[in-house]
Amino acid sequence: MTDLFILFPSILNGLTTGAVYALIALGLTLIYGVLHIINFAHGAALMLALYGVYWLKEAAGIDPYLALPIMVPAMFMLGYGLQRGVINRASHGKDENILLVTLGLSIVMENLALLFFKSDTRTIETAYTLTTVPIDIGFAQAMIALPKLVAFGGALVASVVLILIVGRTDLGRAIRAVAKEKHGAKLMGIDVEHVYAMSFGIGLACLGAAACFLLPAYYVNPQVGNGFVLVAFTIVVLGGMGSFSGALLGGLLIGVVESLGGLLLGESLGQIGIFLLFIAVLLFRPQGLFGAKA
């Protein structure tokens, strides 16, 4: 029972982080599932979104949660433009080129941020930053920061919305058709380029939402994306490339593993755990833990 007193808050903490991880990973897995490319610029795009939320708060006084209707469309447009204007043109029919172009984009974004915003780590102050909520499930109690709870709920809702969009709408049907068989989809009159760009846009829009939920309890600096991008890759691989439910479960799992690893092994070694898990899954089960989808 005494163990539970330490473990329960840690698990809760992991779940809240994990939900945000899941949202980030959903964007990545959508892009992978449809375009069959790995978006190396995902972390850098998240970093840009976090700066967006930061400046909206600092310069315009807009609360991070109220910034959602600004950040989500803004990131969507960035993604749509990048895919149509740069990434799509760079492929020349080879996947390697896309890999390299997204790497190039991430280098540019990260270092432009370094150039303009310096390497300072920045945080925002809100009225609810330090508010905590007690959670009691009978045999264990924990205090959890309100922003983390909101992030948990918000990320889950956003994930469900995304899954509904892909599963239930005409756009989603077009996305799934292109993902499965792009030539067939083209013959059915689907504008494949447009669907590619929409998918990339939605993938980055997830980051816009994640940034709004993340910043009140987190920080931003030019390198902040790096930590997330490998975690997101791990989740995507763990959940099975292109699988939504896998990404959702994988995100929560990784969040808990990281939190418990940090508690038991210390901060930096907990991080190593994720990388080792990532390497191990890539090597031994590249189809993912949950799905057998090729």
Binding site: D95, S119, L283
Partner: protein, 331 residues
């Protein structure tokens, strides 16, 4: 990319002659140059060329895109530093050790990833993750000096591989670059190189023809890692300092990869041309805007994107297209 079929024996002599002219020419230039700034420029450009050539062996000729070549660079650098500081080894003896260790790390990572058939994006991700793991380990174990880094004590003298001027270091890295050129030349004309390019162009067809892709790729990653390790050892000797960020950070991986891609992957002179072009560009911006954080990397990123957009065969490929136009042989 499809250079391999064009080359025949006489071309080998031509290439060797060109390498000899390059070696003598740069050596003479280094002896004439007097200003420290100019010597430093040539040294750093050659150093960048060495990294790009190392990446080119695996990425250009083997078609395996590593995003974490700093893994080998850092290993070479740390072995070079630790063997001297803790082992009391002479740097000239430490260097081959560092090269061997880097090649060994290459074989280890290669054996793991190629055995399970990782390629393309998956291979890029695994190398990136390994570099990151090594960086975190280097930050937390005592014998790398953790975050403080390692300082190699100053003991000037040829016997200690600490030349009085930049000229000595420039000549040393020139030697390594020439060695890398010769190995690349060998790749272009040897059986092993032919196998490697066959695996790059079509692995299944190569296997059907009796090539063992696993062993070939392992050889390539060991060679590539070895040269990257030599680059790391050189860095330690020239700057006498190494820390986890320099050793295993993304900057070195990016520099190696962009140099090779800008110049032209899978070509003999491409990485050299690419590294030189990037260096001139970086120097120009430094003169224009002063030393701003991140500006170099912004340029590298922009150049990388532009090259892939408009000249995916690199500067060398661009030159070839122009030549072909000139001869009226537009493909």
């Amino acid at each position: 990319m499809t250079d391999g079929t064009r080359t025949r024996m006489p071309a080998l002599h031509k290439e060797l002659l060109r390498i000899a002219i390059f070696a003598v020419g740069v050596a003479l230039l280094l002896n004439v140059l007097d200003s420290g700034v100019a010597l430093n420029f040539v040294m750093m450009a050659l150093y960048a060329a060495l990294l790009a050539q190392a990446w080119n062996i695996l990425g250009g000729y083997g078609g395996q895109f590593s995003f974490g070549h700093a893994l080998f660079f850092g290993t070479g650098a740390y072995v070079q530093a630790i063997a001297q500081i803790d082992g009391g080894l002479n740097p000239w003896l430490a260097m081959p050790l560092g090269v061997l260790a880097s090649a060994g790390v290459g074989v280890f990572v290669g054996a793991l990833s190629f055995r399970y058939g990782l390629k393309g994006s998956y291979f890029a991700l695994v190398t990136l993750a390994f570099a990151e793991v090594f960086r975190i380990v280097a930050l937390s174990v005592p014998f790398t000096g953790a975050g403080v880094g390692l300082m190699v004590p100053l003991r000037e003298g040829f016997g200690n591989m600490q030349f009085g001027s930049r000229r000595g270091f420039a000549l040393m890295v020139l030697g390594l670059v020439v060695l890398a050129l010769l190995v690349t030349c060998w790749l272009r004309h040897s059986r092993f190189g032919a196998y490697l390019q066959a695996v790059r162009d079509n692995e299944d067809a190569a296997r059907a023809a009796g090539v063992n892709p696993f062993r070939i790729k392992l050889g390539a990653i060991a060679l590539s890692g070895g040269f990257m390790g030599a680059g790391g050892a050189f860095y330690v000797q020239a700057f006498q300092y190494i820390d986890p960020g320099i050793a295993y950070g993304a900057h070195t991986s990016v520099e190696a990869l962009v140099g090779a891609i800008v110049g032209g992957m899978g070509t003999l002179w491409g990485p050299l041309i690419g590294a030189l072009a990037l260096h001139v560009l970086a120097d120009l911006t430094r003169n224009l805007f002063g030393q701003l954080p991140g500006i170099n990397m912004v340029i590298y990123g922009v150049v990388l994107v532009l090259m892939i957009l408009f000249a995916p065969r690199g500067l060398g490929g661009l030159g070839r297209s122009v030549r072909e136009l000139w001869k009226g042989r537009t493909k």
